[in-house]
């Protein structure tokens, strides 16, 4: 018998862990190289997952608390550490770029902050605002802006080091072009990563280095953040469609789908337009570093909604 047929014949049993012990390894090995069997195996396993579901009844009340408590006892939540690490990684990368430029680079013009020096001082100010909101230390002003920025970043990270995930809900100020919206720390930390990366991009453009996207998980968190703050921003811009929403279908690193309520708290009863775009390009739009026309978005549905929606998204950055 063709070995392929032998393995294919086993797929039903395999999907229910009902092969003999020597079969499983052979099946797994075969699935790595045979796309047809891998497809069938995936379908059969999905069906096997459903077979016992005849009559679904709710889990008993009280079990939820028991399960969540036991889970977090065995593995304490680490989101704060994850978000702090993501920020720290961007700090290292920006510091590396700053360390590589000559003394003349500090006076190179920057379109938003006069020069590179102004750009780094602006970033330091926003880092200091979060540190202050958390009751942390604010670094004294220094002539050397790189040292002052780095010192402030270290102080902020130091402030976060001993906190647990409970503090992620603490209200703090976000940096914004106008005003300082108050959001939970989890949002502010994503913003610190986002802003530090964005200014690394700015600096790269000024000194002629290649721009680099952050890791996919960071991109996704930045999109998540934009989706959380967009309904308020849309309302402030007068774009309010009760029950309406826009679907963001983003591709590439950080890909995913999000539905944004049009200026109302949700839920969304109807999607009025779908915007397909590259996820990293979308985050650059949100940073105000890419105009809507350069997003390369494909819009289906109401273009008259998608256009203004993206215009509002492009104002969310804090420069």
């Amino acid at each position: 018998m063709d070995p392929h047929d032998g393995i294919a014949g086993l797929l039903g049993a395999w999907a229910l862990d009902g092969g003999e012990s020597e079969d499983a390894a052979a099946v797994e090995e075969h699935l790595r190289t045979c796309a047809a069997c891998a497809g069938e195996a995936r379908r059969l396993r999905a069906a096997a997952g459903w077979v016992g579901v005849g009559d679904v009844l709710p889990a008993p009340p009280g079990l939820r608390e028991r399960v969540l408590a036991e889970a977090t006892r065995r593995r304490p939540p680490t989101l704060l550490r994850t978000l702090t690490r993501a920020y720290a990684a961007q700090v290292e990368l920006l510091d590396e770029v700053l360390g590589s430029v000559g003394p003349d680079a500090w006076r190179l013009p920057d379109p938003r902050h006069r020069d590179v020096r102004g750009l780094v001082a602006h970033l330091t100010g926003n880092d200091a605002m979060l540190a202050a909101d958390l009751g942390g230390e604010v670094a004294p002003a220094a002539d050397d802006v790189r040292t002052a920025w780095r010192r402030q970043a270290e102080l902020l990270m130091g402030r976060l080091r001993d906190d647990g995930d409970g503090s992620l809900d603490e209200p703090v100020r976000l940096a914004a072009r106008r005003g300082t919206p108050v959001r939970p720390l989890r949002d502010a930390l994503v913003q610190r990563t986002f802003e530090t990366w964005t200014h690394r991009d700015d600096l790269a453009a000024v000194v002629g280095r290649a721009q680099e996207a952050p890791p996919a998980a960071d991109v996704r968190r930045i999109v998540d953040l934009s989706v959380r703050v967009l309904p308020d921003a849309l309302r402030a811009a007068g774009l309010v469609h009760p029950g309406g929403g826009v679907r963001l279908a983003l591709e590439g690193p950080g890909e995913g789908e999000w539905v944004v309520p049009l200026g109302h708290p949700g839920p969304v009863a109807r999607v009025e337009a779908t915007v397909r775009a590259d996820a990293v390009a979308y985050t650059r739009l949100v940073a105000g570093r890419r105009p809507v026309a350069a997003l390369g978005a494909a819009v289906t549905g109401a273009g008259a909604v998608a256009g203004p929606f993206l215009e509002v998204a492009s104002t969310l950055g804090c420069d």
């Binding site: 014949g9 039903g12 396993r45 997952g49 005849g54 679904v56």
Partner: protein, 190 residues
Amino acid sequence: MGPGTRDVQLHERLVAGDEGALAEAYNEWSSLVHTLAARITADHDAAQDVTQEVFVHLWERPQAYDPQRGALRTWLCLLARRRALDWSRRRQARARYQTTAGTAELATHRGQPAVDDALTWETEAKAVREAVRALPEAQRDVVLLAYFEGHTYRDVARELRIPEGTAKSRLRAALATVAHRLADEGILER
């Protein structure tokens, strides 16, 4: 972009240690997991323990689930089945050494109102019931023995006195038919 994007996102958040992601997974799939555990173990406490094991395992070792290989819901359901079968086998082993085996009660909560997430699975549960019921009897017997008793195809063949090759091919055909019907209902991908 595949339909598993939400699973990819949840997985990423679980790896990041975001307990909100575990709460979301529990809210969405606990009734499925608990129902399977209750049906297989026929024991109220065991069903709760299995449900706990499944979600604690997801939280402690999120890397054990690979979103590229299938839906998180499937993974949770199959893990629940495996753990429930393990429990049933341990009980059988205990029973062999004990003169007084405890009486197992069917632990489905008939008295409780079906609320929350359980209701959201009503359509799926109905489709699954119908898909399994519509199978030719010979196929249904094989798949239910394998599913609920955790039998291998050899055990199934022995129990039903059919050739091993027949047991294997019936399992494959039965699951393919169920997959096909659930795809028709929009519950599974093609």
